[in-house]
């Protein structure tokens, strides 16, 4: 379902989902051509979780994210060209090339630190929440992590700290392995986590936890809005698990795009290779959202096609900017690691 929001807001959510999708798809050929070398993780398939969830926040709230951070930063309004420059290790990158894909941050948007250690941010998020409570500034922290993060001991330690101290933090677990196609391919989810369903873990620490469909933008928006309200009222931490179905392009070690996204796929997936067709037909949150907008008469197919064209132009310009951006000077490696 669509979030209960005015039309302009709905279209903006849609635009940001397009930005994420086309940004992420643009990375694959850049990597394959050797324009950047490091490993990278794409947010494709999770757009309807991050975009509506992040739209529920105040501009001064804190967010923590992991190695799969591109979508979160873009959902919050980070400039695609500077994020892309960071991923390419360039001087114009968000972190001046010192962080890369895993560690992109944007402190002005509330992203202070992105960790490539899957549960690294969970204790940190209790810290910003502790500071907000001490400073009485009403700022909330959202901690965005994947299901694998719960396997590290940092997660339960942080849940205990957050619950005991009623800290203003939302733990938003994005489980992109709805059918167990995550880390343990072709195995059940419980193959790597004895606490299953995953919400059992926060519940053991008396943190209210719920499981939702992360493909349903309306449900994500309603659930996150309600959780955020409770946290702002001083009720302590909340946990949401949003389930999505893993994008077939990330089934291999290095991402590959099974079919370039185009909003027309929302109504016709016959051109998609058979192996990936079902995902694009029923599990692609962006295409679900596009269909819902048209069905609810909030946009026409032409509106969406025109919006997508503009986004593609913006991403093409971002690629041009990032590729043209210079590398940092080698001596910079020896500088600026102390404040």
């Amino acid at each position: 379902m669509l979030p209960k929001l005015p039309r302009d807001n709905l279209l903006e959510l849609c635009r940001r989902m397009f930005v994420i999708r086309h940004f992420e798809e643009s990375l694959v050929p850049l990597h394959d051509k050797g324009v950047f070398g490091g490993h990278y993780h794409l947010y494709i398939g999770q757009e309807a979780t991050g975009v509506p969830a992040i739209s529920c926040l105040r501009s001064d709230d804190y967010l923590f994210t992991t190695h799969r951070n591109h979508g979160h930063l873009l959902a919050r309004g980070a400039e695609p060209k500077r994020l892309l420059a960071e991923i390419l290790g360039r001087a114009d990158g968000l972190n001046k090339g010192k962080g890369g894909s895993f560690h992109s941050v944007a402190p002005t948007l509330g992203f202070l630190h992105s960790s490539g250690v899957v549960a690294g941010i969970i204790p940190l998020s209790t810290g910003t929440a502790y500071a907000s409570k001490a400073l009485k500034n009403g700022r909330l922290t959202v901690c965005l992590f994947g299901d694998g993060s719960l396997e590290e001991g940092a997660a339960p330690e942080a849940f205990n700290l957050a619950s005991l101290n009623k800290l203003p933090v939302l733990f938003l677990c994005e489980n992109n392995g709805k059918y167990g196609a995550g880390r343990a391919v072709a195995a059940g989810q419980s193959s790597s986590m004895a606490a299953y369903p995953l919400t059992d873990l926060p519940k053991a620490y008396k943190i209210p936890a719920q499981l939702i469909d992360g493909i349903d933008a309306g449900l994500v928006h309603a659930t996150v809005s309600e959780a955020v309200e409770k946290i702002r009222r001083g009720e302590g931490p909340q946990f949401i698990e949003a389930q999505t179905v893993r994008w077939p392009g990330s089934e291999t070690n290095w991402p590959s795009v099974p079919h370039p996204t185009d909003s027309s796929l929302a109504w016709d997936v016959s051109g998609v290779q058979e192996k990936a067709r079902e995902w694009y037909r029923s599990c692609d949150p962006l295409l679900v959202f596009a269909r819902e907008l048209v069905e609810a008469n909030q946009a026409t197919k032409d509106d969406l096609a025109s919006m997508e064209r503009q986004v593609k132009t913006e991403i093409a310009a971002a690629v041009e900017f990032a590729v043209a951006s210079p590398y940092p000077k080698p001596e910079e490696a020896e500088r600026n690691f102390f404040a």
Binding site: P107, P123, S125, A131, A134, A158, F337
Partner: protein, 323 residues
């Protein structure tokens, strides 16, 4: 001049720091380990209880909490108590706190202090006698302060809390009752400034933490044999004041380094390497190390005493260097 016990100077610093800056919060512990002086912490708790947190036994969790709180504008001081417990928090200290500033391209500051008691304490055995400062020195992005006197603990603690970088504050329980001069209204001691604890012309004896005090006693005994030892205390490992050490070496031309970290890749090893690289031509004899032997710390008292940088081992090394 006014004289204070080490623990009194340390708590005078904590009191002044907390009074001056509302952003300072104390996370975990009493900053006294198992010392009997609990009343001083209680006095502090009465005044600043609303800025103290007593977390569960979750070193990884609360070191992360303190690091995150520092990112968001507080200045937390975390007491890990026994130094070896920082191993439980390694991912947050070495992989998050140490890297955040660099990784963010200089945008995210992490003004957190991790306080710990390192070293041989008498019966601590292998899991409560660790000296993790050598491993942490191998982790760029952390400042490391290591006081050896009442005046230094006060002045260095103030600088540690004022620093915008994550700082490891390495303390030693065997220093807590040491008495020494601490001037009223003393200034904070800047990082990266070594202190000549005793002047001498024959051998440069470099030491840190409690071993500085052992070296001072050894120096008095050696003076009776006519060997004048210069005891140099770097006071901070990061930043490191090599210049003061080299000028002492220029004078004495002999170096002994005494330190409680294990010998391999230890603090003495790194200091020896730096002197050898930049001051080899000044040396008249080889550099000698008196470190903790490379074995897990044994419990039994004579065994523990055997492996540490004892006065007798230090004296032997100094004698050998002038022989």
């Amino acid at each position: 001049m006014r004289e204070l016990a080490y623990y009194e100077a340390k708590f005078e610093a904590l009191d002044e720091i907390m009074a001056a800056d509302q952003r300072v919060h104390l996370i975990n512990g009493t900053f006294l380990s198992l010392s009997p002086h609990r009343h001083v912490f209680q006095n502090l708790a009465k005044k600043y209880g609303d800025r103290m947190m007593s977390p569960p036994i979750s070193e990884l969790g609360f070191c992360g909490l303190a690091t995150g709180a520092a990112m968001a504008g507080l200045r937390p001081i975390v007491d890990l108590s026994t130094g070896s417990f920082i191993y439980e928090a390694w991912p947050q200290v070495a992989n998050e706190a140490a890297n955040a500033y660099s990784m963010s391209g200089g945008q995210t500051r992490v003004p957190v202090v991790f306080h710990l008691f390192h070293g041989l304490r008498g019966g601590g055995a292998a899991q409560h006698s660790g000296s993790p400062q050598a491993m942490l020195w191998n982790c760029p992005g952390l400042e490391i302060a290591i006081p050896s006197s009442p005046r230094d603990v006060k002045g260095l603690l103030k600088t540690a809390v004022a620093s915008d970088n994550p700082t490891i504050f390495v303390d030693h329980v065997r220093l807590l009752d040491l008495r020494g001069e601490v001037p009223e209204n003393d200034k904070p001691i800047p990082f990266g400034v070594a202190d000549i604890k005793r002047a001498g012309s024959d051998v440069t004896l470099i030491a840190t933490s409690h071993t500085v005090q052992v070296c001072l006693k050894a120096a008095e005994k050696l003076a009776k044999e006519g060997i004048e030892v210069e005891v140099v205390d770097p006071r901070t490992l990061v930043p490191f004041d090599l210049a003061t050490i080299l000028s002492s070496v220029e004078k004495t031309r002999r170096v002994v380094i005494a330190d409680e970290t294990h010998q391999s890749c230890g603090v003495a090893a790194e200091i020896a390497a730096r002197i050898a690289e930049t001051g080899f031509d000044k040396l008249k004899t080889r550099i000698r190390r008196v470190s903790t032997l490379d074995v897990p710390v044994p419990y039994s008292p004579p065994l523990e005493a055997h492996i540490g940088p004892s006065e007798s081992r230090i004296i032997d090394a100094v004698r050998a260097s002038v022989a």
